[in-house]
C-alpha cells in the first residue's frame, strides 16, 4: 500500500506573527517557514506504517509556492520516499484554499493510487480544518478525523478520535483519509545521514494547471488584525464584585 501525505509550508510556530500594514494578511516575507506541525505528525505516522510493514511507499505532496520544496525535503529527511511539488502560486502571501487543495489532491490520488491519505487535522496558519474532509467527500472515501491512534488492518482501520470531552473509537473501511491530531505520535528528528540523503530522493514538479484545477481564491479576506494587547488589570474587593465585572465585560 502507498500512503500519501500532504504537507503545507506555514509560518514557523516560533515566529512572532505580524500583520501586514494593509491588513490583508500576515506578513510572510523574510520570516522563517516550516512544515505545519500536524503534517509532521502525519508524515511520522506514515513512516511508522512503512516501518511496521503495513505500507510500501510514503509519498509526500505539497501545494503552493516553489519554496515548498524545502518542506518536502524535510519530509524526505524524516523518511518519506518521494515527493511531489505542485506549484500553484508564486506569491508567498497567496493561500491556496482547502477546496482547491482537495481537488488537486484528488487528482494526485487518482494518479498515484494510494490506499491511505494521512493529513494534518488543520494548518496552523489559517486553522481551516477542512482539506481532509473535503478530499474525503470528493473521493467518496471514508474519513477518520482528529486521530490520536491509528491501526490499519487490511481492509479496515480502527481510529481513536479526539472529540469534545473524550475519545471516540471508530472502524472505517479502506481506502481512507485520516487527519492527525496532536497526540497521534511524536515526530522524530531527521538524522544527519537522512538529511543528506533527502537531497537525492526524487521530487517531481507539477503545476495546478497540470491537474486542471483553478486555484483562484473564493474567499475574500476582509480584515486581519493582531490580537488586542493585554490591558492593565483592576483589583476587585469581593467575589460579588468580580462576578459583576465579568458579566459587565461579557466574560461569563
Amino acid at each position: 500500500m502507498k500512503v500519501l501525505v500532504p504537507v503545507k509550508r506555514v509560518i514557523d510556530y516560533n515566529v512572532k506573527v505580524r500583520v501586514k500594514s494593509d491588513g490583508s494578511g500576515v506578513d510572510l516575507a523574510n520570516v522563517k517557514m516550516s512544515m505545519n506541525p500536524f503534517d509532521e505528525i502525519a508524515v511520522e505516522e506514515a513512516i511508522r506504517l512503512k516501518e511496521a510493514g503495513k505500507a510500501d511507499e510514503v509519498i509526500v505532496v505539497s501545494i503552493g509556492v516553489k519554496q515548498a520544496q524545502e518542506t518536502l525535503r524535510t519530509a524526505l529527511a524524516m523518511g518519506a520516499d518521494r515527493a511531489i511539488l505542485v506549484i500553484a502560486a508564486d506569491d508567498v502571501h497567496q493561500d491556496i484554499e482547502p477546496l482547491a487543495v482537495a481537488k488537486i489532491l484528488k487528482a494526485v490520488v487518482e494518479a498515484e493510487g494510494p490506499g491511505l491519505v494521512i493529513a494534518g487535522k488543520q494548518a496552523i496558519d489559517n486553522d481551516m480544518n477542512a482539506t481532509g474532509q473535503m478530499l474525503s467527500a470528493l473521493l467518496g472515501w471514508s474519513q477518520g478525523t482528529f486521530a490520536s491512534e491509528l491501526d490499519v488492518d487490511g481492509d479496515t482501520a480502527v481510529i481513536t478520535r479526539e472529540v469534545d470531552g473524550g475519545l471516540q473509537t471508530i472502524k472505517i473501511k479502506m481506502p481512507a483519509i485520516v487527519t492527525a491530531d496532536l497526540r497521534l505520535n511524536e515526530p522524530r528528528y531527521a538524522s544527519l545521514p537522512n538529511i543528506m540523503k533527502a537531497k537525492k530522493k526524487p521530487l517531481d514538479e507539477k503545476t495546478a494547471a497540470d491537474f486542471g484545477v483553478d486555484v483562484t481564491p473564493r474567499l475574500e479576506i476582509v480584515k486581519t488584525t493582531e490580537p488586542a494587547a493585554r490591558s492593565a488589570g483592576i483589583k476587585v474587593g469581593s467575589v460579588d464584585e468580580l462576578v459583576a465585572k465579568l458579566k459587565e465585560v461579557g466574560a461569563v
Binding site: E70, Y189, I195, M196
Partner: protein
C-alpha cells in the same frame, strides 16, 4: 562568494537546535547540579548522526565537513555549552580513529563511538605539560604483548566516565617526534582516576586526572604509526578549536535572545529598560560582535575544509576572537539582567561560567596569539 547556508545546512542547524531545546535545555541545570550527563543521552544523540559528524561515511560516520559541524555545535550550545563541548571532544577522538586508526581499531572503538554506545576522551594535557604539550612524559614501554603505560594525564574531560581514552604518550625520545597515540579501554588494569575536579563551569561533565600505572594494552591499540601521535593530536585541534568557538557563539546567541526578552519586561524608572539608549547601544554592540564572530568562524571552517595553507592560523584567530566575544557577551547579558543575572534561575550566570574555559582549553588564547604572530612575523618581507 556566497555567504548563504545551503538548504541542508539550515535543516541540520534547525534539527540540532530543536533536539537541544527538547532534550538538553530543560535538564541542563539538573545535570550541572548532579555533576553528570546521563549516559542514556548519548545513544539518542548518536542516532541523529552526531557521534561521528565528520567521520567518513565509509567508517559509518555522517561524512559532513567542518563548517557543518560548527552549525551543530552552535545550535546545541544554545541549550547547554557543557553538553555540546563534551560532544566536540568525543568527535575529535572519533575523527582521529577514523583518519589514522587500523580497521581493527575502527571496529572495536570507532563503530560503538559513532552510535555513542560508548564515549571517548582525549588525553593530551599532563600536570607538567599544558600549553607545551609536546613536553608530555607519560611513557609507553614496548613489550612483546604490546605497551605498558605509566604516567598521569590532567584535566581530562570525561575522566572516569568515558568508555575509552585516546592517549598521547611517549614511545621515543623527547620532543614531538617521540610521541604516539594509543587507545586505552576503561577497565584496563593499571588505569585509575583522580578525584573529581571542582570546576567553575562545565560542571555537568566530570573532569579528572587519568592515571596509568604499568597499564598494559595490546600492540593493536596503537593508532597509526609510532612517533606520529603529536601530529595526529594537533590535526584534531584545528577542528576542535572551531567547535569550541561554535559553542561560545551558540551560548552567546542564546543569552542575547533571553536578554532581549528580559529587557522588554523589566521596568526601571517607569519604563522598560530596553527604552534606555545606553542599553540599546549595548545591544547593538553585542549584535555587531556576534555577527562578526559568526562570519569569522565560518570563514575559518571553510578554510579548514578547503585545506588552505593558512587554515591553522585562521582557526587560531577565530578561536581567540569568537571565544572572547562570546564571554564578553554573556557577561554583558548578565549585567543587563541586573541582580537577577547573578541568580541561577535566570540561566545566564551558568553561561558566564561555562564559556570561561573556552579561552583556556584547546590551546589557550595566548597560544593562539603565538600561532598568529609567529606566522605574521615569518611572512614579513
Amino acid at each position: 562568494m556566497d555567504f548563504a547556508l545551503t538548504e541542508e545546512q539550515t535543516a541540520i542547524f534547525d534539527m540540532a537546535r530543536a533536539f537541544g531545546e527538547e532534550r538538553i535545555a530543560p535538564n541542563a541545570r539538573a545535570w550541572e547540579a548532579a555533576g553528570i550527563i546521563p549516559k542514556e543521552l548519548w545513544p539518542e544523540i548518536g542516532a541523529l548522526g552526531f557521534g561521528g559528524i565528520y567521520v567518513s561515511e565509509d567508517s559509518g560516520g555522517a561524512g559532513l565537513n567542518r563548517l557543518d559541524a560548527t552549525l551543530i555545535f552552535e545550535a546545541l550550545s544554545m541549550s547547554c555549552p557543557s553538553v555540546a563541548a563534551f560532544l566536540s571532544i568525543h568527535n575529535m577522538c572519533a575523527k582521529m580513529l577514523d583518519a589514522f586508526g587500523s580497521d581493527d581499531i575502527k571496529a572495536r572503538f570507532l563503530t560503538p563511538a559513532i552510535s555513542m554506545d560508548t564515549v571517548l576522551s582525549y588525553c593530551l594535557t599532563e600536570p607538567g605539560a599544558g600549553s607545551d604539550a609536546a613536553a608530555l612524559k607519560t611513557r609507553a614501554t614496548r613489550s612483546n604483548e604490546g605497551y605498558a603505560l605509566t604516567g598521569t594525564k590532567a584535566f581530562i574531560s570525561g575522566g572516569g566516565y568515558s568508555d575509552a581514552y585516546v592517549v598521547m604518550c611517549r614511545t621515543g625520545d623527547d620532543g614531538p617526534k617521540g610521541i604516539s597515540t594509543v587507545v586505552v579501554e576503561d577497565g584496563t588494569e593499571g588505569l585509575s582516576f583522580g578525584g573529581l575536579e571542582d570546576k567553575m563551569g562545565w560542571r555537568s561533565q566530570p573532569t579528572r586526572q587519568v592515571q596509568f600505572d604499568d597499564c598494559k594494552i595490546p600492540a593493536s591499540n596503537l593508532v597509526g604509526d609510532e612517533g606520529e601521535g603529536f601530529k595526529y593530536a594537533m590535526k584534531g585541534l584545528d577542528g576542535g578549536r572551531l567547535n569550541i568557538s561554535a559553542c561560545s557563539l551558540g551560548a552567546a546567541q542564546a543569552a542575547l535572545n533571553t536578554t532581549l526578552q528580559y529587557m522588554g519586561e523589566r521596568k526601571a524608572f517607569g519604563k522598560s529598560i530596553d527604552q534606555f539608549q545606553a542599553l540599546q547601544f549595548r545591544l547593538a554592540d553585542m549584535e555587531i560582535e556576534l555577527q562578526a564572530a559568526r562570519i569569522f568562524l565560518r570563514q575559518a571552517a571553510w578554510k579548514l575544509d578547503q585545506g588552505t595553507p593558512d587554515a591553522t592560523q585562521f582557526c587560531a584567530m577565530a578561536k581567540t576572537f569568537v571565544t572572547e566575544v562570546g564571554s564578553r557577551i554573556v557577561n554583558q547579558c548578565l549585567q543587563l539582567h541586573g541582580g537577577y543575572g547573578y541568580l541561577a534561575d535566570y540561566g545566564i550566570e551558568k553561561l558566564v561560567r561555562d564559556l570561561r574555559v573556552h579561552e583556556i582549553l584547546e590551546g589557550t588564547n595566548e597560544i593562539m596569539r603565538m600561532i598568529v604572530s609567529r606566522q605574521l612575523l615569518s611572512d614579513r618581507t
